[in-house]
């Protein structure tokens, strides 16, 4: 673990965020963010850090499902990654990453 890989922590999200900007018309088809199913409970963990004003914890507002899901998969697959997000992402199945990304993208704001 180095400073480089920690910078990667932020770089992953900002890079995929830029790449996917404007390519997010699928959101309209998403279920309402207020569904109280598993995806809502999964997302409850995210807002423990990613809520309120933007800080070193980036805001997830406005990020598409693809951006969120891609970032989580990259954290999960970088086996030498040591950031908090790397350590967290390894605990989630692909199905849960899909569900929580869908939920967050459909939310007007991070809950």
């Amino acid at each position: 673990m180095t400073a480089r890989s920690l910078r990667g922590f932020f770089a992953i999200l900002s890079a995929v965020g830029l790449a996917a900007c404007g390519a997010n018309s699928a959101n309209e088809a998403m279920p309402p963010a207020t569904d109280l199913d598993r995806s809502a409970t999964l997302a409850a963990t995210c807002s423990g850090c990613h809520a309120g004003p933007e800080t070193a914890m980036i805001s997830l507002d406005g990020l598409s499902k693809e951006v969120l899901s891609d970032a989580m998969h990259r954290y999960k697959s970088e086996l030498d990654g040591t950031t908090v997000m790397h350590r967290l992402a390894r605990g989630y199945t692909d199905a849960d990453i899909d569900a929580v990304s869908t939920y967050l993208a459909a939310s007007a704001e991070v809950e």
Binding site: T2, A3, F9, G48, C49, A51, M57, T82, L88, G91
Partner: protein
């Protein structure tokens, strides 16, 4: 959980479709459910806000005796003069604005059968579901010589506020060369890595302000949260200003003498210029009154709904609950509040709460501009929490300053997020 059968009357007006799809909070706007939350900390304030947001038609009452909340996370920075105590204060104004009734009173009894809460002010509140988030009580019976009176001389500073300021002021007025003693209780207690963060910051304070002084930690345990990271930081940064003595090395303190600021281990007594006693803890007293605490002093819960396994219609979240391996942290309390609120709404609508994946992250400062973290990922599949293997873990050892600085910045980000979640 037969409790919600009694809700059928209330819910009878809802269409079957609304119940089965659970589409949106609007579907529940008509439910005039009485939801009471006891305790306005990270768990209780979050739960009250979430319940009101999900069930706008419900009566949501938060019972909290204090006018403002004094946050524990980051209070170790206050103790060591790196942060203003005012930065720890949060109000309930936003909750009131959102329609939560904030009752500034103390809950002194709960009747789980009649489903009522008695307040110190004399009122009795009825509830359909009760969320208890009372935090911890310090056990004044656990350490000979340590009680509420002697704590004014030997501060615990384990509940933020006057005690935080007291320890800060004692450190500030201590002479250069004075010995600081900190005692750490056996697990479980609020904020597992908290004593070691405090130790790091006190050692930093001594090193920079009172270099002839030293901190001695007397621990009732042989290992602790983030131990490799703290040990590494201490060896590198504070070799002359911090000594940790484990339980095996006679670190367990069994008695204190406030008059001469002395603590007693099995074989020794140590006198300090400043003595910080972190005493053993248990769930807040109201949990005992409600009958939801077991013989351990903590509250067993179903980890999917956080409903008590001892009393129906009462949910327990935060430090008071038995949620291990989830720690007693503000992050955990905030998350449990949200999971619990969702579970309550589902139960009110006749749906079974669903298992999920939960996580926790705790940051600890090892110096003013450096922090380390521990994360855990958990499932509640079978009604109890267990760690997801291969996930979670600690910050890397032997990391650069910039890695530690980045985690310090993230710690601040977490603090603004979690306080925004709880208090708006």
């Amino acid at each position: 959980m037969g409790g919600w059968i009694g809700r059928r009357g209330v819910l009878a007006g809802m269409s079957a479709a609304a119940v089965s799809s659970l589409a949106a909070p609007e579907a529940f706007a008509q439910i005039r459910t009485r939801l009471v939350v006891i305790g306005g900390g990270f768990g209780g304030a979050t739960a009250a806000r979430r319940l009101k947001a999900l069930l706008p038609g419900a009566d949501v009452t938060l019972i909290e005796p204090n006018a403002t909340y004094m946050a524990c996370p980051f209070s170790n920075l206050v103790v060591t003069g790196l942060r203003d105590l005012g930065a720890q204060i949060f109000s309930y104004a936003e909750l009131s604005k959102e329609g939560v009734t904030v009752a500034r009173d103390r809950a002194i009894d709960v009747d789980a059968v009649a489903r009522t809460v008695v307040l110190e002010g004399g009122a009795t509140l009825s509830y359909d579901r009760l969320v208890l988030s009372p935090g911890v009580d310090l056990r004044w019976d656990a350490l000979e010589g340590y009680d509420e009176t002697t704590a004014r001389r030997l501060p615990h500073a384990w509940k933020a506020g006057a005690q935080t300021a007291l320890l800060r002021d004692q450190l500030a007025s201590m002479e250069n060369g004075g010995l600081v003693v900190m005692t750490v209780p056996p697990a479980p207690y609020r904020c597992p890595p908290g004593p070691y963060e405090r130790a790091s910051l006190i050692a930093h304070y001594l090193k920079t302000q009172k270099p002839r002084s030293k901190l001695l930690i007397l621990d009732a345990k042989d290992n602790f949260s983030k131990m490799p990271l703290f040990m590494e930081a201490w060896a590198e940064l504070y070799p002359d200003h911090l000594e940790w003595r484990s339980a095996s090395e006679d670190g367990r303190v069994s008695a204190v003498s406030a008059a001469d600021r002395t603590v007693f281990t099995d074989f020794e007594s140590v006198q300090g210029a400043v003595v910080n006693i972190i005493p053993p803890q248990r769930a807040g007293e109201i949990a005992v009154r409600a009958g939801v605490a077991d013989a351990t002093g903590w509250c067993p819960v179903n980890a999917i709904s956080f409903e008590s396994t001892l009393q129906p219609n009462i949910h327990v979240i935060g430090d008071a609950s038995i949620a291990a391996p989830m720690p007693k942290s503000a992050f955990a309390a905030n998350l449990q509040a949200k999971i619990c609120a969702i579970a309550i709404v589902r139960m009110l609508s006749g749906q079974t709460p669903q298992p999920t994946v939960l996580a926790n992250t705790c940051y600890s400062y090892t110096g003013p501009d450096a922090a380390v973290s521990i994360t855990g990922v958990y499932t509640n599949e079978d009604g109890s929490l267990s760690s997801v293997p291969s996930a979670g873990g600690l910050s890397p050892l032997a990391a650069t300053d910039s890695v530690r600085a980045a985690e310090a910045a993230q710690a601040e980000g977490w603090f603004s997020a979690v306080t925004a979640e709880a208090f708006g």
